[in-house]
């Protein structure tokens, strides 16, 4: 033992190279060691859910900062870093993710991008929300501005996914979840989008409710243009369904006796209530115009054009809109077409015959009430009568041979008188017109067929 101490007193010279070794080892190994420990710490945290994770290694000491989503998660994350072999000390700078109150999440869409912002409960759910946004909105940039927060209501993710689905149906707008209240605003992309969103909101997860749904629909447009040159009526825009489409097309066919109806209508949901009830009468008003445009935008009806004479303009302005459904507005911009040049009686007769060859004045069956569908034709007859102010005109009523002669005689007289009254109301002097009923005595076709009977039921204008 004594000897051992003697030897050991002579070991000191080796300390000099040893110190050199140590200096070289420290110089070369520090950085690789730190890198290795950082990698090991990171992989130890691989399965731990953390936000804003930051690992810094100095020597063998790890500074570990992160936002954890629960106290247990925070402690176990620190413990797993402490357990990494080689780590000497862990400077614990972890904290809990802040709690959001209220827990607000939103997705906002503008022309080119969708911005998802607010709070998200976990990185995984944030990832799923972004993925859903990208999948649902192909070609639209998705911007992530979400922060991690605790305090999400139960089933938050389901609600957010459902709302992200609705964002695709918006042209622009914003959806927001605040705790368990959902609010939406903006403009739907298509007609019917608003309704589709409202329907989808019924599937919100339990506990969520809609606080405000201020989604607006694009205007529901229906247009009709009467072109006197091409002699066409062009219908464009939307109708609620095929039944209304058929009804509108049939009404247009009846009211526009000489025009060709060009039907470009499409069926779409989202029509305002009472659509057919408003559009059909206003088509009647359009039929009385020489040239005119009808624009229906949601519940606003705009009719502009030229009436054939003063009284017609006044009647259209005053008469329409009265029997509109609740909430509908009517705006008329009606001017009067300049009076056509006067013509002599022969030309007048020709014009009457031409008009009555194209269309017939219709009455309610068996009665002397003029069908409103004939207003367009009657206005054209009035206009023609105004062109020959000196001619006296016989309004001749005819019926078919069905029924009793006496009844037919009376009916034909009453119908002729009804037409005369219309002309007088239009401002023509009553003394120019004679209403005559001929019953079934002057048929123009066989009374054996329905077609022939229809031809025999007529009003003729005869210039005397």
């Amino acid at each position: 033992m004594q000897e051992f101490f003697k030897w050991s007193s002579k070991w000191w010279p080796g300390v000099i190279p040893l110190v050199m070794f140590w200096a070289i080892a420290a110089w070369t190994s520090t950085s690789p060691l730190e890198t290795d420990l950082a990698a090991r710490s990171t992989s130890a945290l691989k399965d731990t859910v953390l936000d804003k994770r930051r690992i810094a290694v100095a020597g063998r000491d790890v500074t570990f900062a992160a936002d954890a989503f629960s106290e247990d998660g925070r402690r176990s994350a620190v413990a797993s870093v402490e357990a990494v072999p080689g780590v000497r000390l862990v400077n614990d700078e972890t904290r809990l993710v802040p709690e959001a109150k209220p827990f607000v999440w939103s997705a906002e869409r503008d022309v080119v991008r969708v911005t998802v912002g607010g709070n998200a409960p976990l990185p995984a759910s944030k990832g799923r929300l972004l993925e859903a946004a990208r999948a649902g909105l192909a070609g639209v940039e998705v911007v992530d501005q979400m922060n991690m927060s605790r305090g999400a209501p139960p089933r938050f993710e389901n609600a957010a996914l459902l709302l992200l689905d609705q964002i695709g149906k918006l042209k622009d707008g914003k959806v927001t979840i605040s705790d368990n209240k959902v609010s939406l605003s903006g403009m739907a992309r298509d007609l019917g989008g608003r309704e589709a969103i409202a329907a989808a909101l019924k599937n919100l997860p339990e506990g969520f409710s809609v606080a405000a749904n201020e989604i607006k629909a694009p205007p529901y447009i229906f247009q009709a243009y009467k072109d006197p040159v091409a002699v066409t009526l062009t219908l464009t825009g939307y109708v609620p369904d095929n039944n209304v489409h058929a009804a509108v097309a049939a009404a247009a066919g009846r009211k526009f006796f000489s025009e060709k109806v060009v039907d470009n209508l499409k069926a779409s949901v989202g029509a305002p209530g009472g659509f057919a009830g408003a559009v059909v009468p206003v088509l009647g008003a359009l039929s009385r115009l020489s040239t005119g445009t009808l624009e229906v935008s949601d519940r606003e009806v705009k009719l502009s054009g030229d009436a054939l004479y003063d009284a017609a303009a006044a009647q259209i302005r005053a008469g329409l809109g009265k029997d509109f459904p609740q909430g509908w507005q009517f705006k008329a911009d009606i001017s009067v077409k300049p009076a056509a040049a006067p013509v002599d009686a022969t030309v007048c007769q020709q014009l009457f015959s031409d008009l009555l060859a194209k269309g017939k004045i219709r009455f309610e069956s068996g009665r002397a009430t003029i069908d409103p569908d004939s207003a367009g034709l009657l206005d054209r007859l009035v206009e023609t009568a105004l062109r020959c102010p000196t001619a006296n005109i016989e309004i001749a009523g005819h019926t078919d041979a069905d029924g009793e002669d006496a009844f037919n005689q009376t009916l034909s007289e009453k119908r002729a008188q009804a037409v005369t009254d219309y002309l007088v109301k239009a401002g023509l002097p009553a003394n120019r017109f004679t209403a005559v009923g001929y019953g079934s005595s002057q048929p123009v076709a066989s009374n054996d067929t329905d077609q022939g009977k229809a031809q025999n039921r007529r009003i003729d204008f005869v210039v005397r």
Partner: protein
């Protein structure tokens, strides 16, 4: 510790070999040794450094460098002890012959 040994085995081996060589020479070396009193002081210093390392008082890189120094020093001392003992054993075996 195990981690440091596996990470630095080459340096520890170098220290050990250095220790073996110095230990081998020390037995027959005729030079001046460290005085007894100084060696106690040095032992005390090393003990203090070991205590500081175990208590993890020095943070960051200097702490790591201290750990590394102590490990290499321990390896060196072990090498010296084995070297000296081997030399002494070799000499004692040769002497009778």
């Amino acid at each position: 510790m195990v981690y440091l040994m596996t990470f630095h085995w080459s340096w520890l081996l170098a220290s050990l070999l250095l220790g073996l060589a110095i230990g081998w020479i020390a037995v027959v070396h005729r030079g001046q040794g460290v005085p007894r009193r100084t060696s106690w002081w040095l032992a005390g210093l090393v003990a203090a450094l070991v205590a500081v390392a175990l208590a993890r008082l020095i943070p960051g890189r200097p702490g790591y460098w201290l750990d590394l120094a102590l490990l290499m020093f321990a390896s060196y001392l072990f090498g010296c002890a084995v070297g000296s003992w081997l030399r002494a054993w070799a000499l004692s075996r040769d002497a009778p012959a």
